[in-house]
């Protein structure tokens, strides 16, 4: 019994440790020059868990790749943009987390962070009922939120059980 509990706890810890953002592609408005991009790069790299940052000035796209077992949050990414005087728009994310709720009102929780989103399919025909309660990898879009706020909806394109 004790052995089962330990094994179960370890399994849960393992699942929690692997729930995280893997990549965030954030569109930023207002950057016109090299120092703007450099400022964003420095700010994003200062967030623990961020592995690599690429900034494209011509598209405004900031691509953030994260290390395994990170606990970075969307709020941190948004704040990094805001403190430099720019505006964040939609973000495309690939993240691992737990799917909770019901098939009609499902939530995606990035374990280890406070980030929790109502999940809405970007296209019809995706049945997520079988994934409820499981750890999933999700790719989708977080719509733009007002300054200082975090959106509560994730429009997912793909959702699969995490390995």
């Amino acid at each position: 019994m004790k052995k089962t509990l330990v094994t179960g706890t370890l399994a849960l810890c393992s699942l929690a440790a692997h729930a995280e953002y893997q990549q965030v592609n954030l569109t930023v408005f207002g950057m016109d020059c090299a120092p703007c991009a450099h400022a964003i790069h420095v700010s994003m790299k200062g967030i623990p868990g961020v592995d690599k940052v690429d900034v494209d000035l011509n598209t405004g796209l900031v691509i953030i790749k994260l290390a395994p077992d990170n606990s970075a949050t969307m709020r941190q990414f948004n704040q990094a943009v805001e403190k430099n005087g720019f505006t964040h728009k939609d973000a495309t994310v690939i993240a691992r987390g737990k799917l909770t709720g019901t098939a009609n009102a499902a939530f995606f929780e990035v374990t280890g962070t406070q980030d929790r989103f109502a999940v809405v399919p970007a296209a019809t025909g995706i049945d997520i009922a079988a994934l409820l309660g499981k750890t999933v990898t999700i790719a989708g879009v977080l719509p733009q939120a007002p300054k200082g706020k975090l959106t509560d909806t994730l429009r997912y394109n793909t959702i699969t059980e995490a390995r």
């Binding site: 016109d32 090299a34 450099h38 790299k45 000035l57 403190k83 430099n84």
Partner: protein, 281 residues
């Protein structure tokens, strides 16, 4: 520590009207520092005329308190003498400190923004004396206020701005009030709209003008001491990540100044170096 720094900047120094940093070298512009960004500027500013060349060099510091409020200070040193009129576009020997507030900020699309910034600062006499008629005046501190508004994008820039500086009276002398204005257009060619890890260049056409009031000496107005000038010229800005170098030259379009009081100014030039230290958090 942060509070001490802010207080030091606010009370010990003044503020130069010119927006150096990583914008045009002569004209007023809107950019302010990021939150907790420290910027350092140094350069050489020259005014050459019939009675010699006047050079000033100095160090400017800026610190972003918020994404839209920056405190700054500028401590110049002056060399040479040209007996030239007062100028707030080209730094003289006054130390300055103040704050800039970007009170309007609108992003319209990728790379584009429309914004307006107001600045208020104290201007205090530095240890060096002016030249010409201004050298004989008792000097007192003044206040400088500026306002700039404009547009920035990946391809084009346009800003207009104006400033007003008023000095207090000292021993019945008073330096002239100065009204200055500028309009600048910048352009970055398509092939130079590259990644931020490459050198970033843009060119500007800068139009600046100044009107200085009459000089008051021993309680009386010095006749014909008021001046109006208008200057136009190109400048170039090169940036690599957090380092910027800019340079420009201006020639006079209009010089309405008494040559019995002032030297006849022929050319203005500036070279500025900026270092920007961004905060990770």
């Amino acid at each position: 520590m942060k509070s001490l720094m802010v207080l030091a900047c606010a009370f010990a120094l003044p503020g130069v009207a010119v927006a150096a940093d990583h914008g045009p070298v002569f004209s007023y512009a809107t950019p302010v520092n990021s939150q907790r960004e420290l910027s350092f500027d140094t350069g050489i500013f020259g005014r050459s005329g019939s009675q010699g060349t006047q050079l000033s060099t100095g160090s400017g510091f800026g610190y972003g308190i918020t994404p839209h409020i920056t405190v700054n200070a500028f401590l110049p040193a002056m060399f040479g003498s040209g007996a030239l009129p007062e100028s707030r576009i080209v730094p003289g020997s006054e130390w300055s400190a103040g704050a800039s507030w970007r009170f309007q900020h609108s992003v319209t699309s990728v790379g584009k923004r429309i914004e307006s910034t107001a600045s208020l600062g104290l201007v205090v006499p530095g240890p060096q004396q002016e030249s010409g008629v201004l050298a004989n005046l008792h000097r007192a501190p003044g206040v400088a206020a500026t306002l700039a508004t404009g547009f920035a994008s990946r391809s084009q820039y346009a800003w207009v701005g104006g400033g007003y500086t008023r000095f207090a009276e000292a021993s019945h002398d008073r330096r002239p009030d100065t009204i200055s204005w500028s309009g600048v257009y910048g352009y970055r060619p398509a092939r130079l709209r590259r990644g931020y890890d490459k050198w970033d260049y843009r060119g500007f056409a800068e139009l600046t003008g100044e009107h200085t009031g009459n000089v008051r000496t021993t309680g009386a107005i010095l006749p014909a001491s008021s001046t109006t000038t208008l200057w136009l010229g190109p400048s170039v800005l090169a940036i690599f990540k957090n380092i910027a170098i800019s340079g420009g030259v201006q020639a006079p379009l209009l010089r309405d100044a008494s040559e019995s009081i002032y030297g006849r100014e022929h050319v203005r030039f500036a070279i500025n170096f900026s270092y920007l230290k961004y905060s990770a958090h």
